[in-house]
Amino acid sequence: MMMISTAIASETAHAAASAAPKLEPLHHFQVQKIVPLSLFGWDISITNSSLWMMISVAAILLFFKMALKNEAKVPGRLQSLAEMGFVFARDLVQDNIGDEGRKYFPLVLALFFFVLFNNLLGLIPGSFTATSQLIVTGTLAIGVFILSVGIGVARHGVGFLKTFAPGGLPLALLPLMIPIEVISFLARPVSLAVRLFANMTAGHTVLGVMIFFTVTLPVWAGVIPLSFAVVLTGVEIFIGFIQAYIFAILTCVYINDAMHMH
């Protein structure tokens, strides 16, 4: 690590003066303690990550509170937006799980808005993107995974194991197929967590690199990375929506798979 660092450092050094800012695009993923706390020997300090998660939650609630201030029959702009998100999540659940899924609608709605607001608030300069933390997305993904397994076991009992042996296969193939199915099943929470975290990390890293170049290059050349950064910010907003949608829809798909085994 030291070797790489020094190598890069010396390389950047001749691009800019020695006092110039260093290229450290991963720096803003650094979790920093704000209020050290501990519970039964566990470290539960409030960090910048948890602070921005709380800010996101507060922002979601504030958004809905403002939107539903007068519960108008003819909605204003903000209320339309809130209703749109609400109806969107409701249709998502309805289309992917069906009527039985109505129970899980609050979960899907909360997941969608939690991920969305963390993604979007993370784009504010100086803020922290909680969804770029593997453990944050992992917690959500494992929660969804445990829920879907729980639903499957509760509904089908031991029959849930049939998920790993798809019907219509010749017996000879089973020893091959079962491990594949088990792995692909266990990969679900991993891919769910890694997709979100890696998307956010990659996007912000590229953005960080672009902005670094904008700052270090001479003004006439810096315009190019700056315009890239502007476009990428728009792309990141889009990706924030897409990833929240994907997180919500995959949650629905996993719950549906557990409910109605294929």
């Binding site: 690590m1 030291m2 790489i4 660092s5 020094t6 890069i8 450092a9 260093k22 290229l23 450290e24 695009p25 991963l26 720096h27 993923f29 979790v31 303690k33 706390l37 566990w42 470290d43 539960i44 300090s45 409030i46 960090t47 990550s49 948890s50 998660m53 709380m54 939650v57 979601i60 609630l61 809905f64 539903l68 519960e71 108008a72 029959k73 909605p75 809130a82 209703e83 609400f86 109806v87 609608f105 609050p106 979960l107 709605l109 909360a110 997941l111 808005f113 939690f114 909680a130 770029s132 933390q133 593997l134 453990i135 944050v136 917690t139 959500l140 929660g143 975290f197 990390t201 890293t205």
Partner: protein, 190 residues
């Protein structure tokens, strides 16, 4: 990738083995805890306040819309009722007019029939009286002819008896008698 920060800043280097800060396990417990807490709080609050509120709004709107729709339906029904009434009335009045027309026609026909009958009766009467008058005149004429014929016969017979006549005389007498009778007849007829 590039991670100069770790090498240079002791604080960060102490917290992990380098690489992505995301893989630094020392931050996991606190982030795990706060993710759970904030997500569950969000879920609880959404479930408790936001979802019922939006459902309320959506339900109210749906109710208003369906109420408006049923109102419109009612109004439409009412309008159709009015239209049906109007059409029935129209049909009634048309029927009445037709009835009136038919009555008038019937009456007119009756009147005409009556007048025709009366006229016919009058004519018949006139015809009858005329026929009678003619008949009378005829009878009278015949009566008179009878009288004249008798007179002629008497005169002729008298003349026949008084002298024997030649053929020319006889002819002359007949012509005389006829002309006499003619004059008598025309006198009688007049």
């Amino acid at each position: 990738m590039i991670s100069v920060a770790h090498a240079s800043e002791g604080a960060h280097a102490a917290s992990g083995g380098g690489g992505l800060p995301q893989f630094d396990a020392s931050t996991f417990s606190s982030q795990f805890f706060w993710t759970l807490v904030s997500f569950l709080a969000l879920l609880f609050l959404l479930n408790k306040y936001v979802i019922p509120a939006i459902n309320r709004v959506l339900d109210a709107r749906e109710k208003t819309i369906s109420g408006d729709l049923s109102n419109a339906e009612n109004m439409k029904k009412e309008a159709q009722q009015v239209l049906a009434d109007y059409q029935a009335k129209l049909r009634d009045s048309a029927k009445k007019a037709e009835q009136t027309l038919a009555d008038a026609q019937k009456e007119a026909a009756q009147n005409r029939e009556q007048a025709l009958k009366e006229l016919n009766a009058e004519l018949q009467k006139k015809q009858d009286s005329a026929t009678e008058a003619i008949e009378q005149a005829k009878r009278k004429a015949i009566e008179e002819v009878k009288v004249v014929a008798a007179d002629l016969a008497i005169i002729t017979t008298q003349k026949l008896i008084s002298k024997s006549v030649t053929k020319t005389e006889a002819n002359k007498m007949v012509t005389e008698a006829i002309s006499e009778m003619e004059s008598a007849g025309s006198k009688a007829l007049n």
